[in-house]
């Protein structure tokens, strides 16, 4: 442990300058302004939504594996969702539409996005840049407490007349403009209202993240000394800031079409359904990168740390993040190749889409080079990070297939797309979330997660996950369309039933495996082994403060002297060099006189 850490420990023992024990209970746990508590609030709420989204997926898989057969336990659901028969309840097609829509919506907007941005953005940004909190702590609280009513509205829509929204998570017009087509009236409006509120929550959060990163960095924390997780969260916040308002405008126009009867997207009164697709995907494609960039940042942290090597090509990593963030704005048309588009425009979207493969590949090769000849520690966060890299490669490659306009004609709206999105969002984002939660768990709760249980969970999840989603490529290539209620009605798809049954069985096993994570998570909060300040021997600033850090984080302003990934440096006696170690401070050699960190003005 370096001298800086010891000094900090002493300062904290003395109580520091923050009177954290004077905060009333309700301000500490419910209407909290402390970024670490808000991070935990986002984590618990979005893990709950992850379970809800998983349950919806499970019901869909039942219908696909055993089309129109009574669903076990289906009798407890109301008649609006299930048709009761003497043998049990059979799922209604309208309910299947709602399941498709709500699974996508909940997973994207209420699980993955708040986990990556709400949890890790709040937890990591102030700690990694050496700030005592966010730039606007009260605004941060508002951000969380806007997300909660949005979630309640979304869940409540299941209980209203006509059921929850059923026009898909993309809510294409004119399907979504009127209940005439889907049978869903109020549910669709609640969906729109909920997402508008959630969008405002994300917006408020991103204003906070951007201001914090720009203005709250500790002395010496220059832009190119920032950890990659913070870099990726910063670029993500910029994407949210600029993309969400476009979605909000489109959602409100669609809401007007449904409620007061405007005709923006209604062709029968002269509106333009294609305009919805353009607005939605102009938001929607940056959204895809909102869901993957933080995952890449988390993976970079874990890989470098657990490989005990500096991340390969730090600057190119940063530039790749920024490059992906920029290119994400000019590719939205690749979702609309089959919507009626000038072929020349299609080609330009194809080229810009393929250009994204360049920064993505830079990242992948940098990760591989980081692992090359490294001292790899295969503990649970590292396993999940390695899974992220491998699964992201598969998901990225299938993305190249779809970016080709001629190939896309064939695979558009098939299960190939479903396979791709799950390789990126589950294989990518969710494995990175597991990596992140297990890696920063000691910092959040002061205890380690159980290692053997974590490994069992990892291995089973990886195997079952691939058995569920890899065959979906095949289903897609054989013509099975996405969002279909009963594919066996088509003669050419009926032979796919065994494969669908196979997928369904492993989907249930995949869901069941997650119980291990839930058990590990809650058991470790209370009973896990006590964690030290820096259990992973990491360099970044969050590991220089106690686990969990006190209110105000740093007892005294940290000084930053070096980059975040100086592992196995010859300068150091140990194999790591915290960012707060002054030049020469890591070795037993003579320390340099009066170090002046870059970026600090006298």
């Amino acid at each position: 442990m370096s001298t800086t850490e010891q000094e900090m420990g002493k300062a904290l023992d003395a109580g520091g300058h923050h009177d954290h024990h004077e905060i009333p209970w309700i301000r500490q746990y419910i209407f909290a302004t402390d970024h670490k508590m808000i991070a935990k609030q986002f984590m618990f709420v979005s893990l709950f939504f992850l379970v809800v989204g998983g349950a919806l997926a499970g019901m869909m898989r039942w219908q696909l594996g055993f089309p129109s057969q009574p669903m076990p336990g289906g009798m407890i659901l109301p008649d609006a969702m299930m048709a009761p028969t003497p043998n049990g309840a059979i799922m209604l097609p309208e309910f299947y539409n709602s399941l498709v829509t709500m699974h996508g919506t909940i997973m994207i907007f209420f699980a993955i996005m708040p986990l990556l941005v709400g949890l890790f953005g709040n937890l990591l940004i102030p700690l990694q840049i050496g700030a005592e909190d966010m730039a606007f702590p009260r605004l941060n609280m508002v951000s969380f407490w806007l997300a909660v009513p949005a979630g309640i509205l979304m869940l409540a829509s299941f209980g209203v007349e006509g059921g929850a929204a059923g026009a898909g998570w993309t809510s294409y017009a004119p399907l979504s403009t009127s209940g005439e087509w889907t049978g869903v009236y109020l549910g669709q409006q609640l969906w729109l209202a909920s997402l508008t509120i959630l969008g405002f929550s994300s917006l408020v959060g991103s204003v906070n993240y951007i201001s914090t990163v720009i203005n709250m960095r500790a002395p010496g924390m220059t832009w190119f000394r920032m950890p990659l997780a913070t870099w990726s969260l910063f670029v993500t916040a910029v994407l949210i800031l600029l993309a969400i308002p476009i979605l909000a405008g489109a959602l409100i126009m669609l809401l007007f079409d449904q409620t007061i009867g405007t005709g923006f997207f209604r062709p029968e009164v002269g509106g333009e359904p294609l305009l919805w697709q353009h607005l939605f995907w102009f938001f929607g494609h940056p959204e895809v990168y909102i869901l993957i960039l933080p995952a890449m940042g988390i993976t970079s942290e874990v890989l470098a740390n657990r490989a005990r090597k500096p991340i390969f090509g730090y600057h190119s990593m940063v530039l790749a993040i920024v490059g992906i963030g920029f290119l994400g704005w000019i590719v939205w048309g690749h979702h609309m190749f089959q919507s009626g588009m000038n072929p020349l425009l299609g080609t330009s979207f194809m080229i810009s889409t393929m250009a994204i493969a360049v920064p993505s590949a830079i990242k992948v090769f940098n990760w591989l080079a980081t692992l090359w000849k490294a001292d790899i520690h295969l503990d649970v966060p590292m396993l999940h990070a390695l899974a992220f890299v491998s699964m992201f490669i598969i998901g990225g490659l299938s993305g190249i297939f779809m970016a080709n306009t001629p190939v896309d004609i064939y695979i558009h709206d098939t299960y190939f797309i479903v396979a791709h999105i799950h390789y990126v969002l589950f294989g990518g984002s969710l494995f990175a979330i597991f990596a992140g939660i297990t890696f920063w768990f000691p910092k959040m709760f002061g205890r380690m997660m159980n290692e053997p249980l974590g490994k069992v969970h990892f291995v089973l999840t990886l195997i079952f996950y691939n058995l569920v989603f890899f065959p979906m490529h095949n289903l897609g290539l054989r013509g099975m369309m996405r969002r279909i209620y009963d594919f066996t009605q088509y003669e050419f798809l009926a032979p796919l039933q065994p494969m669908n049954q196979f997928i369904t069985v492993f989907a249930f096993l995949l869901i069941a495996t997650q119980v291990l994570f839930v058990i590990n998570f809650f058991w470790s909060i209370f009973k896990g082994e006590k964690a030290s300040e820096n259990p992973w021997d990491s360099n970044t600033l969050e590991w220089t403060v106690p686990s969990p850090p006190p209110h105000g984080n740093f007892a005294e302003m940290p000084m930053v002297y070096r980059g975040p990934y100086e592992y196995s440096s010859p300068e150091s006696d140990t194999d790591f060099l915290p960012q707060t170690t002054p030049p020469g401070g890591g070795s037993s050699g003579v320390p340099e006189p009066t170090p002046t960190p870059e970026g600090v003005e006298a």
């Binding site: 730039a135 720009i214 007061i260 923006f264 509106g271 333009e272 970026g599």
Partner: protein
């Protein structure tokens, strides 16, 4: 202002205090919001030129031009308010803030009158009941434009009007704080960010007025 986290001196960051930086960042997203609305309008108008009318046929351009002038004046009074507190002039701050509030409220008032007249002439956002006639034409004259005209008009000007209304409420809050002496020459962040928002709303209106009324 009380010293909070938000007012802490910048370290490695920019030489701008947090509140001001945050307002600029927030305004960027506002730019995107109006870009979305204006972009949708441009697409719809190019796709359906027949659904829109020539300038001044349905909309009352002179009235709104006057209202635009009022809003620009309110930006001037906002600048005067900020200039006053920069000199430590509490009376001037309160006076000019009040003038800004009155001008802003007047703008919203004129907009409400305009909406009332227009809806009376059949210029409504609802597609099924749209039957706008030319200004001053007799009842039952030929319908001008189509439903998209009404829908885009009310959405764009309505969202702007909502921004002005929220701005007026925030101005009232700023004025109330100013009366309690919350701002000084050395601590005027609240007035400055209020001004940033207000000028932004003004600027957006100049664009919207040009696009919706004049082109």
């Amino acid at each position: 202002m009380t010293p909070t986290t938000a007012d802490r001196a910048p370290m490695a960051g920019m030489k701008v205090y947090n509140l001001k930086l945050g307002m600029w960042v927030f305004l960027l997203s506002e730019v995107m919001f109006f870009t979305g609305l204006i972009g949708a309008y441009i697409i719809l108008r190019f796709a359906h030129p027949e659904a829109f009318a020539e300038p001044g046929v349905v909309l009352n351009v002179p009235l709104t031009a006057f209202n635009t002038f009022v809003l620009i004046c309110s930006s001037v009074t906002m600048v005067k308010a900020f200039a006053a507190i920069e000199q430590g002039d509490q009376q001037g701050l309160q006076k000019w803030l009040l003038a800004t509030i009155l001008l802003g409220a007047f703008f919203v008032g004129v907009q409400i009158v305009e909406y009332t007249i227009l809806t009376g002439e059949g210029f409504v956002p609802m597609a099924e009941s749209y039957h706008a006639i030319a200004r001053g034409a007799a009842e039952g004259s030929a319908v001008i434009g189509g439903p998209l005209y009404g829908a885009t008009f009310y959405t764009m000007t309505g969202f702007h009007g909502a921004h002005v209304s929220i701005g007026v409420l925030c101005l009232c809050f700023t004025w109330w704080r100013a009366r309690k002496g919350a701002y000084t020459a050395g601590s005027l962040g609240g007035v400055e960010i209020m001004g940033l928002y207000w000028h932004f709303v003004d600027l957006v209106w100049i664009l919207l007025f040009t696009i919706v009324y004049l082109i």
